[in-house]
Symmetry: C2
Subunit: 337 residues, 2 copies
């Protein structure tokens, strides 16, 4: 049951070094020898002990996944699945760190002597302060940002271009003839960790202000819990001028709002246009106009970049902008007059 490298070496009539090599540097071993070793290993149900090889080689074979969101969110879970699909086969484990407040974030950076216990850090959906980014950067281990502000401390970042996505949505609304546009989002104060939350709101504001008189924007905050749709709707109803177009920070805001409005008697898009961000669960089936992005692919892609970094290559794709587009579907139309 616990066959060691020694057992395999003995049985195969070679030294433990050769056994080790057949697994880590197979080319440096005569094919015949290699096969013999492999066969014995299989018979004995032997594989390298990760702990031992990690200790000796100084690489932990672990990647830290640091998220400011929830692991079971649409975004994070898809990124994770994408990451794992390549990192697992490359022999890496992913250590999950879900950090929900400053204290926990601080704990991550101070408690964990990262350098010794992870070969790289992936920062997901997270505003990471420069001081802490710096601290990581100086350890010399790769730091990859997924859906984060592209600060120079990162060895690489990947994400969509939030600003141009927002521009796509706003332009779509404006081109349809909308002027009174509301943006529904979580209060940025309550989610100062999440990068896309910040970025989208800021983009909304700056694009609208560039558009000047052509738009009449409002921002409505809604909490993250189950009541968000009701809350948002009542806020919207309370506005002096009712918006004819509503853009939501993500589909998890847009869809419940859509359901809620339909239940309240609105017909979408006749009475009001609604758009979301992400193209997440059921957006397609429901026909929601939204920004499409693919976090699974982003996970895969960043894993590949990471592997290169780990092999010492210096991929020049340090700031990858992942493809995204506006999927125009059935919840947006010209305003009624």
């Amino acid at each position: 049951m616990g066959a060691s490298i020694q057992d395999v070496a003995d049985r195969a009539g070679v030294s433990i070094a050769t056994v080790s090599r057949t697994f880590t540097l197979p080319d440096k071993v005569l094919p015949r020898t290699r096969e013999k070793v492999l066969k014995v290993a299989q018979d004995l149900d032997y594989t390298i002990s990760r702990s031992a090889s990690a200790l000796k080689s100084g690489k932990s074979a672990r990647i830290a996944f640091l998220t400011g969101g929830e692991l079971d969110s649409w975004y994070d879970s898809h990124v994770l699945a994408g990451l794992n699909s390549v990192l697992h086969d490359a022999g890496y484990d992913i250590a999950l760190y879900a950090v929900s407040d400053e204290q926990e974030r601080h704990a991550f950076f101070s408690d964990m002597s990262i350098k010794r216990n992870a070969d790289a850090v992936l920062v997901v959906s997270f505003q990471i302060p420069c001081t802490e980014a710096d601290k990581l950067a100086t350890t010399g281990i790769p730091l990859i940002g997924i859906n984060t502000e592209p600060i120079p401390e990162f060895s690489a970042t990947i994400g969509i271009d939030e600003t141009s996505c927002m521009e796509l949505v706003i332009n779509h609304m404006v081109n349809l003839g909308h002027r009174k546009i509301a943006y529904v989002c979580l209060d940025p104060e309550t989610e100062h960790f999440k990068w896309n939350g910040q970025a989208r709101l800021q983009a909304f504001r700056s694009i609208c202000s560039k558009l000047g008189d052509r738009v009449n924007p409002t921002v409505v905050y809604a909490p993250k819990d189950d009541t968000r749709a009701d809350f948002a709707l009542s806020q919207l109803a309370r506005l002096d001028q009712h918006p004819t177009a509503i853009i939501c920070m993500n589909d998890e805001y847009a869809l419940p709002l859509l359901f809620c409005m339909q239940r309240s008697g609105y017909t979408i898009p006749r009475d009001v246009s609604v758009a979301g961000f992400d193209d997440s669960t059921y957006a397609h089936e429901i026909g929601l106009t939204t920004i499409h992005q693919d976090p699974y692919e982003m996970g895969k892609s960043s894993a590949q970049t990471l592997l290169k970094l780990l092999e010492g290559e210096n991929p020049d794709m340090n700031m990858q902008i992942q493809p995204s587009f506006l999927a125009v579907r059935n919840t947006t139309a010209p305003p009624e007059h």
Copy 2:
């Protein structure tokens, strides 16, 4: 940067043994000494090296998470988040194994000399053959099943009672006055890995047959891809007698079908009743009648059981049935006559 146990020992004026003890057996160290060591460790940004302590102690501090589904599915991602919320704090990593065919499953059991590289195995949504379960069981490491057939090889299993859940749904329909009931699911041939798929279909059949003349059941298969709703609807339309009630294997079948039917002009529940399983994303907001279950809690709960097992306790809760109930909402009603 890379402070070792030696550095800490030197600076604190103690031996490395004492440093080691302050972290692993803090009680066996004089409070004063402990604090001194802790302080130095903090200054030096030192923590135990996982690889080294794993090697020495013979425990890898890794838990294998073996799933037959997708990591980014509603179910798996919630289980994983729940697991991580307790295992992470207990010092364990979760190694993710997403296995999609027999070959990969076989690879898991043969390639991975599990015993040396994981302290326990969690099997999620997975039909695991007895021979392989046995192989795991004989290694002596805990084997926990989540949403799996409760076979004796498992040290513990956790899940909902699929049969009684199905009974709840069918009875609900029957009590409303439905007789012609269709069950929409993935063809079991294509998902012979997934336990709940099998269990639910079997439960549907056996409960209906127990009900005899009171019901007139049909089973309709639909693929897993984007076309499932259209496909299911066309299959249903083709039936000799149109069902007045449709039960779907899970919400991911029920909701798209619901949308699709509404688009096709059906009014739910006036024209037909629809129920799902899981109470997953948006089921609540949409008002879908469905079986509620909480995979996050199941993850937490199994992690706690696992920790006990790992500490040598033998929790007698070896077969935990997690609470679940039928959430009756707005997609089921008596049939029109």
